[in-house]
């Protein structure tokens, strides 16, 4: 509802002020008065929003009415000016020209006064309505371009399912995908969701989000869960619907059919195991064939042949290691690595792993130091995983450390964590490479590393194992100085 316009009467003739005031007050208008144009302008400046219509005498003594009209025009005021004049001659025309709405002769009858005033009031009302409409239009512009029908069409075109309840848990919206999924026991919008949906888990999750924010429940919390419905596996995201005032007005569930994703992952997994098996079988044969020939079991060979075949054998082993790394990594990533958690003497495992590498360290003239703290507690972990961590970290350190360098391995306790620290005086890692260091197949390419062999999977495997044991891995490196890797494994899971 629009409020009645408030009116400022600007007139120095007291009788005229009285007359206008009485008439306007009699019909409930709010009236203010000013005796001069200066006072009028002062008033407008001070209470701009409080004046809607100005009854302005054209016969003011000071600056004159024209200057008031001009100022109002200049400041783009919304105030409608009704000029009052004894003559309604040239000066009235001039005032209207300058921006006044109309002019009324001061010798008006009541009826004449109201005819003129009603017109300006009407004009005022129209202007306000227009303003309100403009504002509304601005605020609903987004809605206009996407009305309800369009939104429903979009929702019905989606492959994912959407369900919405109101505050009380009545189903108020569901898209076509929901209907086709068979989740509903009849499309009965407006009914409580437990009556509409077959899946009880989904119902309870949706009802739970409606309760969020109540004592003991975090506000606006978001549920993600997997639902089994018949032969489909659905991933559900359930959120409360929160309006602009922060009040929960409903619950919305978005359901995504996982069968497609699962099928894709299965294809990928099948492909991986097919490729690795297809590679492993011939590599197995190749390794055996070469070994038999190198060992002279297929007849005598000369030194040169033996040398060449010896290299072939090493290359073949490298390929085998790559295939194995790939298989290991895939299992870790899929969480299929069969971890056998048992209490382990980590010092013993470390010592054995280091023994395996001491020969290659010796050949490269690298000092390999191992410091194992006394009285280490047993760690519940997977033995083969722990071996893989030690072997990968230490062999990396040895590989990337130039001859004459040093590799130090420390195994000790830090709070409730068992800490493995492997530090080398090697090449170090550039900053740009650091963020990719745990990526699969990431190998630092430089003149110095060109001759170093490896699959680029070692650290990715280490990270996978550390993650599976809920541990952390930390790496620091300085080019030319060396690298330090710290793996922390929690004693209690």
């Amino acid at each position: 509802m629009l409020t009645k316009p408030s009116i400022l009467v600007v007139e120095n003739d007291a009788a005229m002020v009285n007359r206008c005031g009485r008439l306007l007050l009699s019909r409930g208008y709010k009236v203010r008065t000013a005796e001069s144009s200066k006072e009028a302008l002062h008033f407008v400046e001070k209470y701009r929003a409080d004046v809607d219509i100005m009854l302005l005498s054209l016969e003011l003594p000071d600056l004159g009415a024209m200057s008031v009209i001009e100022v109002l025009h200049r400041i783009k005021s919304r105030i409608l000016v009704m000029a009052m004049s004894s003559e309604c001659g040239e000066e009235a025309i001039e005032a209207i020209h300058a921006g006044a709405y109309d002019c009324i002769r001061k010798t008006f009858t009541n009826a004449r006064f109201w005819t003129k005033m009603n017109r300006v009031m009407e004009r005022f009302t129209l202007a306000r309505h227009l303003e309100i409409l403009k504002k509304e239009r601005e605020s609903v512009l987004a809605k206009d371009s996407c009305d309800e029908g369009t939104i429903l069409t979009i929702l019905d075109s989606m492959a994912d399912m959407i369900l919405v309840t109101d505050q009380k848990g009545n189903l108020i919206l569901c898209n076509k995908a929901v209907v086709e999924s068979g989740l509903l026991s009849g499309r009965r919008l407006g009914r409580p969701v437990e009556e509409c949906l077959k899946n009880k888990d989904l119902v309870s999750f949706m009802m739970a989000t409606l309760q969020s924010g109540q004592p003991g429940r975090p506000f606006g919390h978001h549920e993600v869960c997997l639902l089994e419905t018949g032969d489909a596996k659905l991933r559900a995201h359930i959120n409360p619907v929160i309006n602009g005032d922060g009040v929960i007005v409903g619950s919305v569930a978005l359901l995504h059919d996982m069968s497609q994703t699962d099928a894709m992952n299965q294809v990928k997994a099948d492909f991986m195991s097919m490729v690795s098996h297809e590679l492993k079988a011939p590599l197995s044969a190749l390794l055996m064939q070469i070994s038999v020939v190198v060992d002279g079991l297929a007849g005598d060979i000369n030194a040169k042949q033996k040398d060449l075949l010896g290299k072939s054998k090493e290359k073949t082993k490298g390929m085998i290691a790559l295939v194995n790394d790939l298989l290991d990594l895939r299992r870790i990533e899929e969480g299929k690595a069969l971890l056998v958690i048992e209490p382990l003497d980590m010092g013993e495992i470390l010592q054995r792993s280091v023994d395996l590498m001491s020969l290659s360290a010796q050949e490269e003239n690298i000092r390999l130091e191992v410091n194992i703290a006394d009285d280490l507690p047993l760690l519940s972990a997977d033995r083969s995983g722990m071996q893989a961590i030690f072997v990968n970290l230490v062999s990396n350190a040895v590989k990337y450390t130039p001859s004459g360098g040093r590799v130090t391995v420390d195994l000790n306790m830090a709070g409730k964590f068992l800490r493995i620290k492997v530090a080398d005086t090697g090449l170090g890692i550039e900053k740009a490479d650091l963020e990719h260091i745990f990526d699969r197949f990431y190998r630092i390419k430089s003149e110095q590393t060109r001759s170093i062999g490896g699959s680029g999977l070692g650290l990715a495997i280490v990270k996978g194992i550390v993650d599976a044991h809920k541990g952390t891995i930390h790496l620091e490196s300085e080019v030319g100085k060396g690298t330090m890797i710290i793996v922390s494994l929690p004693l209690e899971k």
Binding site: A281, M288, S291, D295, N324, S384, Q387
Partner: protein, 129 residues
Amino acid sequence: MAGEKILLVDDDYDFCEATELLLQARGYDVTMAHDGEEGLEKVRSRQPDLVILDVMMPKMNGYDVCVVMKADPELSAIPVILLTAVGREMFKTSYTKQMGLMTEADDYIAKPVEPQELVERIEALLKEE
């Protein structure tokens, strides 16, 4: 030690040929089969002292051959080495435990096989005999 009969069951002919050379050089009497059914047949007809079984084979896989052998009182005493294509060091311990419980095989070697390792495992099992 020479002269023990070893049955090698693997569908890869090249692998068999090279492995035969390796084992013959050690003085073993090697017989070969190239699928599970043929393997089981030769276990019965030749009564080998040790069987090396590949896992992935046509007609009948290595696990099944092993399970049949271990369930047969006449064959259950023959040591079996399974050649698994699964992983290597990292998963071998856990995997071995699982498969060991399931098939009662006497030993496992992950493919690809290091010739030296194969020979050592064979010697160890035959010594136990």
